[in-house]
């Protein structure tokens, strides 16, 4: 309980620091606030530090980089009893030598050690109270990947919470991480990629032992000559494409602390670390993703709605923007369609999607499966890495080198199942659009536009929390539907509930 309370106080401080960052007027204040938040997150370990690493992204130079580089590790004398208890043996029976840690991470820290005269290993030890702390923080903070309009309108927050919780719990089990690393090591075969060898007999749920590998961080590798940077970039791209499309097991934590680089003349090595956060993508979804890319390249035909649904999208919601899907797919998969080296710096996906969908982009996001943000984060990580290296490479040829021809052919002939969409009865009327206007106190108003006949589906498309307000206002949605069916879809206000905390206005126009 005390632990929960202490971490609660720490979280309040973090929230306050985050608020300061948002409100900072000058760049100097902004940076100072970022540094303060970085310190707080670093001193918290666990989930807040994980969030900090997320904020750092792939940029090795932000104040948050401290979180991916090094934070104050625990002293060896505090770690030794944990190792002894896990191995059920005195340390000297297993290790010839172990050093103080110089790299603390969010959930544990790494010590360099020697098994014998030759074998140098990295011993990753989990902080003893971290599992409880993570649960406490999820309960306390409800840290979510999105807010604003997405949170307000039909967004399945529970499944997001579950995805986040599952991911973190997997990360806490080092035996799970060991298995993932072994699988990745034995399946993914990319030139220039090195996955450190693990020592399974020494691994426990809270201890992971793997070969020690030296290397420099991303920020230093970006200063290397262009051929070396291009080689690394290709390795990173092939690693992602092969692990995603061929094996469906992707490294899901693309922050700079998980990458090291070695410069060997013409063939630099990329060392991938930390396999705790791996993302599994089942075969159908992989085929759907590859199918979408092939479609966008004009190499096959598919029904986009069905293919997106196979990816995990919500059919009914996506059907509302079905006419936009061809263009949307082209935007999403643009790097794979360009017949030239792709410049990630010019790829402004968010702005392009906003231009295409307007407020309907929130609809698109709310239709997306909860774990999509993990895949998006991986893609974002790759794009940021390429941007950081300042290199441009064509994506499609690199994908075809990383993924077997059989896989691509399978996707080419694969067809998605047809999606049963709930049929909305035909109803005449001069109204063209259903407008949903939501104004919450102290928030920016949200405006969503849908085809007019969606007014007949209000019961299904309204989030549950809005249903409650409608019931409180004595509005009978069934009755409203019958009236519309009888009188037609003519311009009119359907629902207008105004209170101190919110204003919901739904109208046909």
């Amino acid at each position: 309980m005390l632990n929960i309370l202490q971490r609660g106080i720490k979280l309040c401080q973090i929230c306050w620091a985050t608020r300061r960052i948002r409100k900072a007027n000058t760049e100097k204040t902004h940076q100072a606030a970022q540094r303060a938040l970085s310190e707080l997150l670093a001193s918290s370990r666990g989930l807040p530090m994980k969030v900090g690493q997320f904020l750092a992204g792939m940029d090795d130079t932000t104040p948050y980089a401290k979180l991916t580089n090094s934070v104050e590790p625990w002293a060896l004398e505090d770690i030794e009893p944990i190792l002894k208890k896990s191995w059920q043996q005195p340390l000297q029976f297993i290790l010839k030598n172990i050093e103080e840690s110089c790299a603390a991470a969010s959930l544990g820290q790494v010590h360099r050690a020697f098994l014998d005269d030759k074998q140098c290993v990295a011993v990753k030890v989990q902080y003893p109270d971290i599992a409880t702390a993570i649960d406490a923080e999820i309960t306390l903070a409800g840290l979510m990947p999105a807010g604003g309009p997405v949170k307000t309108w039909a967004f399945d927050l529970d499944s997001y919470k579950k995805t986040l919780r599952d991911t973190l719990h997997n990360e806490l089990n080092y035996l799970h991480e060991m298995k993932q690393q072994l699988t990745f090591h034995s399946t993914v075969n990319v030139e220039g990629l090195h996955v450190p060898r693990v020592f399974p007999v020494l691994c426990r749920s809270n201890v992971l032992v793997q070969e020690w590998v030296n290397g420099v961080r991303l920020s230093e590798a970006t200063t290397w000559p262009l051929p070396a940077k291009l080689y690394i970039a290709r390795t990173l791209m092939q690693t992602m494409f092969q692990s995603l499309f061929q094996f469906g097991l992707i490294h899901g934590d693309p922050h700079p602390g998980n990458l090291l680089f070695q410069y060997h003349d013409t063939k630099p090595q990329t060392i991938l670390l930390d396999f705790g956060c791996m993302v599994s993508i089942e075969k159908t979804r992989r085929l759907a993703l590859l199918k979408l890319i092939l479609y966008c390249r004009g190499e096959c035909h598919t029904i986009l709605l069905d293919t997106f649904v196979e990816l995990g999208f919500h059919a009914e919601k996506l059907a509302l923007i079905e006419d936009k899907l061809p263009l949307l797919a082209q935007l999403l998969f643009q790097p794979f369609t360009e017949a030239k080296p792709f410049n990630p710096a010019t790829w402004n996906l968010s702005a392009s999607v906003a231009d295409l969908l307007g407020d309907q982009r929130w609809w698109f996001r709310s239709a997306a499966p909860a774990d999509l943000f993990l895949i998006i984060r991986i893609f974002q990580g790759l794009v940021t890495q390429l941007e950081t290296f300042d290199v441009q490479l064509p994506w499609w040829p690199i994908l075809t080198q990383a993924v077997s021809e059989n896989n691509i052919e399978e996707a080419r002939i694969w067809q998605p199942g047809s999606t049963p969409i709930h049929d909305i009865p035909d109803c005449k009327g001069s109204a063209e659009k259903l407008h949903i206007h939501i104004q919450l106190k102290d928030k920016k108003p949200i405006h969503i536009t849908l085809p007019a006949k969606q007014a007949l589906e209000l019961e299904n498309i309204m989030p549950e929390h809005i249903h409650q307000h409608i019931r409180d206002a004595d509005i009978d949605l069934k009755k409203l539907r019958s009236q519309l069916l009888q009188q037609g879809l003519e311009p009119q206000t359907l629902i207008d509930i105004k209170q101190a905390a919110f204003h919901y206005h739904l109208y046909l126009a």
Binding site: P227, R234, K340, P341, L393, P397, Q401
Partner: protein, 211 residues
């Protein structure tokens, strides 16, 4: 000729200057009470303002500076102040007119006139020899299309290089890129340009002459 100018020009004798602009440079002249002499050529308007000294320079951008200069110098009221001189990426000449107007003829040189082979907009490293050959072969593209051709052949060659597993563009990638981006009816010119660079063009395309 194209004209680039300022609006007000100070001149001792605006009427003579206006007459010169009309006669030599095809301006339309009008006198507007309260303003003075106006000279217009459609795109620009010059207001000639009476002054105690002449301070009137007009820059004339030419397509053929030698021809335009010779034409102007045939007039008895125009003398050359300087020869035609190259200054970085342009050639210039100054002419003085009896009416007090200083004409600065200029012409921006294109890459062929400067004898330059402009760099390729590359993302990948290129083999030095391939880079030079590519830049030379690009000269077969008309100037107005050259920049686009340079961009397209570079992008295509780099795509082919990566497709073949290389991260450096070699001769074969660049030549194949030329074939891919060149329209069929221009293949003979491309074939000859490759042969001129001692490249066996038949490796990349059939000799159009044999078709």
């Amino acid at each position: 000729m194209q004209f680039a100018i300022a609006t007000y020009l100070n001149i001792r004798n605006p009427e003579t200057a206006a007459s010169f602009l009309e006669d030599a440079l095809d301006f339309k002249i009008a006198y507007k009470a309260g303003y003075g002499w106006w000279a217009e050529n459609g795109a620009v308007t010059i207001i000639l303002q009476e002054s105690t000294t002449d301070n009137a320079t007009i820059e004339v951008q030419c397509t053929h500076i030698e021809k335009d200069s010779a034409c102007l110098l045939q007039r008895p009221d125009v003398q050359a102040l300087t020869d035609i001189q190259q200054n970085q990426n342009r050639v210039e000449q100054q002419l003085i007119c009896d009416c007090g107007i200083l004409l600065r003829l200029s012409k921006v040189l294109n890459e062929d006139e400067m004898g330059e082979l402009l760099p390729l907009p590359s993302s990948l490293p290129w083999d030095n020899k391939t880079d030079e050959i590519t830049r030379r072969i690009l000269r077969i593209a008309p100037l107005s299309f050259r920049e686009k051709a340079r961009e397209r052949v570079t992008q295509r060659a780099e795509y082919i290089a990566v497709e073949s597993g290389s991260l450096m563009v070699q001769e074969a990638h660049a030549m194949q890129a030329f074939v891919d981006i060149t329209l069929d009816f221009q293949h003979q010119t491309l074939f000859d340009a490759m042969q001129q660079e001692s490249i066996d063009a038949s490796t990349y395309m059939q000799n159009p002459a044999s078709c």
